[in-house]
């Protein structure tokens, strides 16, 4: 069992520093030393090290990163790609932006190491188009890394060739899904690809491709430098390491907190974030971005922030976006905003998602306009149950899970709204 209370800054190590994003700042504080160390190791060793650290994908699904890397066929000598998923679009999440703001070189270094481990010579950082400033910082960082010889045809004399480019999305939530991102990167509509084959076998342009979240890649240099054992001392046994939590809502100090996994949520809200604003109390909490099932205030008691504990409560840690819903928010409004979002963002490829999200939004429009019907709640539950697990990607589940949980846990409030046609 690792330490779940002591805070160690890994991906946010440079927060608040003057000139934090400069290459000099990064190198002065040990930046790119992990890269040098990695070049002294075998690619397989790096993968084993990451595997041993227990690092899990920080984008939402929580898939073990080392395992993912090991799926790439080793004997394939053709082109392989490493993609950084910086298309942060899960409502409530703003950690990847924060990492880019703190120090983009960490991402660059993580990508070079990952590329070396899987044998990829080309990498892309896929960013939201409306991160205008952040894209500029990334471009500067990439240029600096090229100039300093960390990127190029022969990096630091190791003979390893790695090129990095950035690519801006164009406003589609679905491009945060790894295969949707790959489609977008190919210049197509960001529609997820059919699996199998998985991207590690056939991804970008049908070549082996690894797509990792920004936070995952930014954690890699630290693991290589300090070793898997050191990483494992933090967090819980099954969820080791630190994670960025994005706390938003009516608390005194909302923002990004880097905390070891297994940190108590009440401590985060009341101590780190300074508690709720006066006059507001917690009504509910969405613990992992808007796709995660909602938790009631009661369910937060004694909850720790790790993958397993939140899964036990029937929700998920997801991207670590903790949204505190206070008593000012009507659950009808919350549900409407949620289903409208998924309706707007459904790519339209799979029928259950395309029609299901539209149907849910359609029903919620009716309810909000005071035209709700008594059996609407039951219908919404049925629709979401039959959207779940029936599509290519998880957007359908992402729409269904919160709907199901809100309808179940706050059904009385919504039923009351339907009856009155307005909020009580």
């Amino acid at each position: 069992m690792g330490d779940t209370l002591t805070k160690v800054k890994i991906t946010t190590a440079f927060e608040g520093q003057p000139n934090a994003r400069a290459l000099k700042t990064y190198v002065d504080q040990g930046g790119y030393s992990a890269l040098k160390k990695a070049f002294g190791m075998q690619p397989g060793q790096i993968i084993d090290e990451v595997k041993a650290s227990g690092l899990r994908g920080r984008g939402g699904a929580g898939f073990p990163t080392g395992m993912k890397w090991s799926f790439v066929p080793k004997d394939d000598k053709g082109a392989k790609y490493i993609i950084c998923n910086n298309d942060e679009s899960e409502p409530g999440t703003f950690k990847d932006r924060y990492i880019t703001e703190c120090n983009p070189h960490m991402i660059v270094e993580g990508m070079i190491i990952a590329g070396f481990a899987i044998g990829a010579n080309k990498g892309y950082i896929y960013t939201r188009y409306d991160f205008f400033e952040e894209i500029k910082w990334l471009e500067i960082a990439i240029r600096e890394a090229y100039d300093a010889g960390f990127l190029g045809d022969n990096i630091l004399g190791s003979g390893f060739k790695f090129h990095l480019d950035h690519y801006a999305g164009a406003g589609a939530y679905i491009c945060g899904e790894e295969t949707g991102l790959l489609s977008s990167l190919e210049g197509k509509k960001g529609q997820p690809k059919l699996k199998p084959p998985f991207p590690a076998i056939s991804g970008y342009l049908h070549r082996p491709t690894i797509v990792n979240n920004t936070e995952t890649l930014a954690s890699v240099p630290w693991i290589i430098t300090n070793g898997a054992a050191a990483y494992k001392t933090m967090g819980t046994e099954k969820s080791p390491g630190t994670k960025l939590f994005c706390l938003s809502g009516r608390v005194k100090r909302p923002g990004v907190f880097e905390l070891p996994l297994g940190y108590p949520i009440e401590k985060l809200i009341n101590e780190d974030a300074g508690g709720m604003l006066p006059g507001y109390s917690i009504k509910a909490c969405i613990p992992g971005g808007s796709s995660a099932p909602i938790l009631t205030a009661d369910e937060l008691k004694g909850l720790t922030l790790d993958y397993e504990a939140i899964a036990d409560k029937g929700s998920m840690l997801g991207s670590g976006a903790i949204m505190l819903i206070d008593n000012s928010m009507s659950m009808v409004e919350l549900l409407k905003v949620t289903v409208d979002f998924y309706h707007h963002e459904s790519c339209g490829q799979c029928t259950p998602c395309r029609e299901g999200t539209g149907w849910l939004a359609n029903i919620m429009t009716g309810i909000a306009a005071g035209q709700g019907k008594k059996d609407d709640l039951q219908r919404m539950f049925e629709i979401s149950r039959n959207m779940e697990g029936r599509t290519i990607c998880a957007l359908s589940d992402a729409a269904a899970m919160p709907t199901k949980s809100i309808v179940t846990k706050f059904g009385a409030e919504i039923a009351d709204f339907i009856e009155r046609g307005t909020r009580a």
Binding site: G348, P352, R354, G358, W359, E382, I383, N386, R390
Partner: protein, 500 residues
């Protein structure tokens, strides 16, 4: 030898080659798995999420079109879970589908209707207004697009990308606002566009040619071979036997054509309809007046004429390559074998470029049975020496010309002109379908013939493969006969001084 895998499908052991998907295996085993987006001639899209099956030991249902069969897999298509998934997949498809059935041409052969009866039969839960989209868009010569009826299965988009490689169709916008269409103010312009109507599982694409002509449940379809070119696509002919009318041709899966056929070929049903056909036989009496007669009368007058000449020198045979091998056999057995006719000519369209090929299906040789005719001529010893120039007939000096005309006028632009010039000759007996022969006052003798959909026989296509006309429709013309029947009737009128 390819490897095989054995897996269980609904409790029954099934062996298939490695790499076969469960969907393909189920089709082979006649297990119906409902599907919209999967099509045997196109890549797998996996977007309709209809073909869900349960694989024992896996937590979620899987789509059978993208699920490769592996050894020991236990697949069930009829568990309650799968049935619920099918029912809901259908409900999701129907949520925004307009209730256009009364005016939709697809009604009767619509996937949504069929599946509603087989896996649906539920009261709809949709109580809210539907999403509306553009309707009746003109996107091609033979295409009418209704984006509201579209279920976005992407079959048409994949067809345009993979088969014709034009990429003319796209899906614009996203979510339930997604609309299928061409680039604004452009139209699909190729010879294969009606295939989009065939592969569309709903009524989003309808054919302008067939639009509103008939409801499909009144139609009977019978297998045949397209007579439009030497590719010999397998087709189904759709007609209404009660009114003796033909309505359309659709491709049938076949060796020569896969799943498709061209638009030119689809027009080859038109000449079969009564309004353009020669309705009855006629002949001319001694005074030169034309007389309508029946089949027996026409045979009698032709037989008498034949009896009065020396067939070897005085009779010429003008044959087109649009008839069956069996007909050629009986024709040449009698005229060349028995009567010893030397003057045999092949009827050709002067403008056709015989070796053209568009790379997909359509060939420049617009005759269904060129190979068959050449083989038959060769067997009768006139193979190599045959003059296929049309004008030679006139120069041959024959007293009687038997002109077996091409059947399909749409592939023979100069047919009418040639018929016209033939009537200038002394005596021509037309064996034909063309109504223009009847209209021509100078024509002296004609026997109506059966069309390709009304006779049995085989065609030999460009690659030497034979295709069968197996299930004939009743001939709309009472006196319509095929060549074999005419020849059999003529045999009773043996010429008196033949050289044999």
């Amino acid at each position: 030898m390819s490897e095989t895998v054995t897996f269980k499908l609904n409790g029954k052991d099934v062996s298939v080659p490695k790499g076969t998907t469960v969907m393909e295996a189920a089709r082979r085993e006649n297990v119906a798995i409902p599907h919209f987006c999967w099509h045997p001639g196109l890549s797998v899209a996996g977007v309709c999420r209809f073909c869900m099956v349960k694989v024992e030991g896996r937590p979620k249902l899987e789509i059978s079109c993208n699920l490769q069969a592996t050894n020991g897999m236990d697949v069930k298509t009829d568990t309650d879970e799968a049935k619920t998934a099918h029912k809901w997949a259908l409900e999701f498809h129907l949520v925004n589908h307009p209730l256009d059935c009364p005016i939709c041409d697809q009604a009767g052969e619509c996937g949504l209707q069929d599946y509603y009866m087989s896996v649906g039969k539920y009261p709809s839960q949709m109580t809210r207004p539907k999403v509306l989209k553009p309707k009746i868009l003109d996107v091609g010569r033979d295409l009418v697009l209704d984006t509201e009826r579209c279920i976005l299965c992407t079959r048409c988009v994949r067809f345009e990308e993979e088969v014709t490689k034009t990429g003319a169709l796209g899906i614009f916008d996203r979510g339930d606002r997604a609309i299928i269409g061409t680039y604004p103010e452009t139209k699909i312009d190729h010879n294969y566009q009606t295939n989009l109507v065939d592969i569309c599982p709903v009524g989003a694409f309808t054919s302008r040619d067939f639009r509103f002509k008939q409801r499909v449940w009144f139609l009977k379809d019978k297998p045949a071979i397209c007579p439009g070119c030497s590719t010999g696509c397998s087709v189904n002919v759709y007609g209404k036997p009660e009114t003796r009318t033909y309505f359309r041709l659709k491709p049938r899966q076949g060796e020569a054509n896969g799943h498709w056929m061209c638009d030119k070929g689809r027009e080859t049903y038109r000449h079969l309809n009564q309004d353009v056909r020669l309705r009855g036989a006629f002949t001319t009496d001694a005074k030169g007046h034309r007389q309508d007669t029946n089949f027996a009368g026409a045979i009698e007058s032709l037989g008498k004429r034949l009896a009065g000449v020396n067939p070897a020198s005085d009779v010429a045979l003008l044959v087109s390559a649009q008839h069956t091998n069996e007909e050629y056999k009986s024709l040449f057995d009698y005229f060349v074998g028995d009567l010893g006719i030397k003057n045999v000519y092949q009827w050709r369209e002067p403008t056709e470029k015989i070796d053209d090929f568009d790379g997909l299906l359509y060939r420049g040789d617009h005759n269904a049975n060129t190979r068959g005719l050449q083989d038959a001529l060769k067997q009768n010893g006139i193979g190599s020496g045959v003059k296929n120039e049309f004008d030679f007939v006139a120069k041959s000096g024959a007293k009687i010309v038997i002109a077996i005309t091409p059947e399909v006028p749409s592939t023979f632009p100069s047919l009418n002109r040639q018929l016209e010039s033939l009537t200038e000759l002394d005596f021509v007996s037309f064996w034909t379908l063309a109504g223009t022969v009847g209209d021509n006052k100078k024509a002296k003798h004609a026997i109506p013939m059966k069309g390709f959909a009304e006779k049995k026989g085989t065609f030999t296509n460009h690659d030497g493969k034979s295709g069968e006309l197996a299930a004939p429709f009743p001939c709309p013309v009472v006196d319509g006969r095929d060549i074999s029947e005419i020849v059999a009737a003529l045999k009773g009128w043996r010429p008196t001084h033949g050289n044999k």
